[in-house]
């Protein structure tokens, strides 16, 4: 038996069908007018579109069959998320899918029965991991204190995605000296504890959430929280990478549209090599990102993430965030004066890049982790 370096990539018939459906769905539900109409809205998404996604079964995609899902695995969410990025279609899908994975991987049987059928039906979950700007932190100041037979949570979390619409939060806290993940229901949190953040990317929503004083029952502490935390961070990084890859492809389309229609000095500007060649670089960067996310989607399964999968997720995130950052930046520049306006769609991509770069670890964070995996 000889095993060559793991370069496997496969797309099941099921995934191929999801890819087609997702592309068509996102394209038809989220044209640029629809995207722009949501920029100033409270929730950032259209509830009717979200409801349709629930009815299509997408919110149950990663949920085991016995809990009301279709058990297709996180790999099947990649084509959905990539196309959401491609058409800037925002819903709580990413937040909720990561939260569902935390319960699937780290929850007890009773925790799974309690939460997963609800997620499949459209309950919105989200992760509350950060204390501050530091993605590389190994500790948290959010404390789980003993309170007779239960606990009390003490601490505030930073940049919690979709906090204002979440039905439940999975909060990273510390109990004595060990990290735990605890589930907090939205009904336990006073509205004043949620402080909306102003984001560069107006298609996204996030808030700081103060969990201080909230009572936590034993049944709300995830059975294997500490153990699965690294995997959840990697899954988060992979989903953000998939969304960023789709978004980079959209930025590329926008550049190509402009370069093939805009004339200056009597020539289409796409004929100038100073614009043509960097646009090819955008394509190449996007292509690499896409290869990584589908490679990671091929490797990842229900087991704990192995070394190859970790490498694939981290490379996905590093590559996709850089690709989108470059694509958005060049999209603005190549639109000239138009690119400097709010009216130009390039602004959507350069702003999204500032979200994608900093969610679940920036490229440098992941390269630093990769260095440990690949060089030592």
């Amino acid at each position: 038996m000889t095993r060559t370096a793991n370069l496997s990539m496969a797309l099941s018939d099921e995934q191929a069908m999801i890819l087609d459906n997702a592309r068509e769905f996102c394209r038809s539900k989220s044209d640029i007018t629809a995207v722009r109409s949501l920029l100033k809205s409270a929730t950032g998404f259209n509830p009717e579109v979200w409801q349709e996604m629930i009815e299509l079964g997408w919110t149950g995609m990663v949920i085991p069959e016995k809990h009301g899902g279709s058990e297709m695995g996180i790999g099947s969410a990649i084509p959905v998320v990539e196309n959401m990025g491609r058409y800037l279609l925002c819903t709580p899908f990413i937040s909720s899918t990561i939260a569902a994975e935390a319960i699937i991987r780290g929850g007890s049987e009773s925790q799974q029965s309690r939460w997963l059928p609800a997620v499949a039906q459209g309950s919105i979950g989200t992760m509350a991991l950060l204390d501050n700007e530091d993605w590389g932190a190994t500790d948290t100041d959010c404390i789980l204190l003993q309170d007779q037979n239960d606990f009390i949570l003490q601490g505030k979390k930073f940049l919690v995605a979709d906090a204002e619409v979440a039905d439940f939060f999975i909060v990273l806290a510390k109990q004595s000296d060990s990290l735990v993940l605890v589930i907090v229901e939205a009904s336990q949190i006073p509205a004043s504890a949620i402080e909306k953040k102003t984001l560069v990317d107006e298609t996204k929503r996030a808030a700081s959430v103060d969990f201080s004083g909230i009572k936590i029952s034993r049944s709300a502490v995830l059975a294997e929280g500490a153990k699965i935390l690294p995997d959840i961070r990697l899954i988060g990084a992979l989903l953000i990478a998939a969304e960023a890859t789709g978004c980079a492809a959209a930025a590329l389309d926008t550049i190509v549209d402009y370069l093939t229609t805009r004339k200056q000095f009597g020539r289409l500007i796409g004929s100038y090599q100073s614009l043509k060649h960097p646009t090819v670089d955008v394509l190449i960067q996007m292509d690499s990102a896409r290869s990584f996310i589908y490679h990671a989607a091929t490797l990842i399964d229900q087991d704990a993430l192995d070394r190859d999968t970790e490498i694939a997720c981290r490379m996905s995130k590093a590559q996709a965030a850089e690709a989108l950052s470059f694509a958005g930046d060049r999209a603005v520049q190549f639109h000239g004066g138009m690119g400097f306006t709010y009216e130009c769609d390039a602004m959507l991509y350069i702003r999204r890049a500032q979200w994608a770069l900093h969610q679940y670890g920036d490229p440098q964070h992941h390269r630093k982790c990769l260095a440990g995996l690949l060089l030592d």
């Binding site: 038996m1 000889t2 095993r3 060559t4 370096a5 370069l7 496997s8 990539m9 496969a10 797309l11 099941s12 099921e14 995934q15 191929a16 890819l19 087609d20 297709m72 695995g73 790999g75 099947s76 492809a249 590329l252 190509v256 370069l259 093939t260 020539r267 289409l268 796409g270 004929s271 100038y272 090599q273 043509k276 060649h277 646009t279 090819v280 394509l283 190449i284 292509d287 690499s288 896409r290 290869s291 990584f292 589908y294 490679h295 091929t298 399964d301 490379m315 590093a318 590559q319 440098q364 390269r367 630093k368 990769l370 260095a371 690949l374 060089l375 030592d376």
Partner: protein, 411 residues
């Protein structure tokens, strides 16, 4: 989903026969891989600059062939073994891994040979194939001409029919091993009257050792020889050297380029290039000191190395994605057409970086006793420009991708 993944993984698993064969190859290499000859061996067939190197490589190729590890999938009657390609691939993989010397007769093994097998006459197969494998008959290529680079439509070398012969006049450039070659695959103009500049071209399997053919060596950026400029002055070659029909040269040349680009199978095999991958670069970085500490502890260096590793990984993964059309639907030609640009530019930058890893030793060159790995990396970096320039420069490649993949307008 799990089914497909299993299939994918299974493709990396060999059956017993292949596995035994691989063991045999490994064992053979252990006993036959030549000792260090005392001079730096070529990394590609474009660096065969002396008789000494040529003799060494010819002897090596003959040994590989006579031991049954070259031309394994070529027909038996022409020196091959008629076996499945997989066995040749296994042999090549192990030889590459062991970094054995190259099989130098690349134009014959990789381009002319498969072309003759696929489209040649019995006479051509009988005459040319075996000598390619044994290394007795060295082949070169005569497509490019001075001042035309890779614009083959501008070819001006003339071939005029005169009885049983063609008379050739003109010149070719970048003829690898032109000074050693017995045959040339030659593209020349047989009809200058036609409107379309491609349709007057013809393809010849031309002898080099005839009166009127002279070569002049070209010294490369690396200081080595390996290329020539080749001049034809009323050189007469037999009319049966014409391959196919007069005027069909362009089509045959395009088919030849498919073999060159690896888009078409059929090559005899053998290691054609001593590749340098990231693992080789990491190997040299391991022993280097910087600021009094091992270089591999330097965080800037680590970040740079990981960036290169990500890029190398992406190159390989793109090949995997190419096989899944559903994942290439928006720009279907993208991966195939950008392959040369991505690959050659990656290796150029990676080799350039390799020199900076060597600290002060980075300035040493082939011939210096302190040079890291005999100056291999310095030479590899300079040589790499043959790939970012030859076969269409990176700038032309970027135009091709921009225009044919993205649909951007021509300059």
């Amino acid at each position: 989903m799990s089914n497909n993944i299993n299939q994918e993984l299974n493709s990396n698993v060999e059956d017993a026969e292949q596995s035994d064969f691989r063991k045999g190859v490994v064992d053979w290499i252990k006993h036959n891989n030549p000792k260090d000859p005392g001079f730096l061996l070529p990394q590609t067939f474009m660096e065969v600059g002396s008789e000494q190197v040529l003799d060494f490589l010819r002897e090596w190729q003959y040994k590989v062939w006579s031991s049954g590890y070259l031309g394994m999938a070529w027909p038996r009657e022409y020196g091959g073994q008629g076996m499945s390609r997989q066995f040749q691939q296994i042999a090549d993989e192990e030889m590459k891994k062991a970094r054995v010397p190259i099989c130098f007769n690349v134009i014959g093994l990789g381009w002319a040979g498969p072309l003759i097998i696929d489209t040649g006459s019995d006479f051509e197969k009988q005459t040319y194939l075996k000598g390619i494998l044994t290394g007795d008959d060295i082949w070169c290529q005569g497509f490019s001409e001075p001042n035309h680079g890779s614009d083959l439509g501008s070819i001006q070398t003339r071939a005029e029919r005169d009885g049983d012969e063609y008379m050739i006049n003109g010149s070719k450039i970048w003829t690898t091993m032109g000074n050693f070659a017995k045959y040339m695959i030659l593209l020349a103009r047989t009809d200058s009257q036609v409107d379309r500049r491609y349709s007057g071209l013809s393809f010849f399997l031309a002898p080099m050792r005839v009166p009127g053919v002279t070569t002049s060596p070209i010294q490369k950026l690396t200081g080595d020889y390996g290329f020539t400029e080749t001049f034809f002055t009323d050189a007469r070659i037999p009319a049966n050297c014409l391959m196919g029909e007069e005027g069909h040269g362009w089509r045959i040349a395009m088919q030849t380029l498919q073999y060159e680009r690896g888009a078409e199978a059929g090559a005899a095999g053998g290691v054609s290039i001593l590749s340098t991958v990231m693992n080789d670069l990491l190997r040299i970085a391991k022993d280097v000191q910087r600021d009094g500490k091992p270089l591999m502890r330097d965080s800037v260096t680590r970040d740079n190395l990981v960036k290169f590793l990500i890029e190398e990984h992406a190159l390989h993964l793109s090949e995997s994605r190419l096989k899944i059309p559903a994942l290439c639907s928006d720009y279907p030609n993208s991966i195939a057409l950008s392959g040369k640009l991505r690959g050659t530019e990656f290796y150029r930058r990676m080799r350039q970086y390799a020199l900076t890893l060597q600290g002060a030793s980075g300035s040493l060159y082939v011939g210096d006793s302190d040079a890291v790995e005999g100056g291999f990396w310095q030479r590899a970096y300079l040589n790499n420009f043959s790939t970012t320039i030859g076969g269409g420069t990176s700038q032309i490649q970027a135009n091709i991708v921009g225009e044919h993949v993205l649909g951007l307008p021509k300059d």
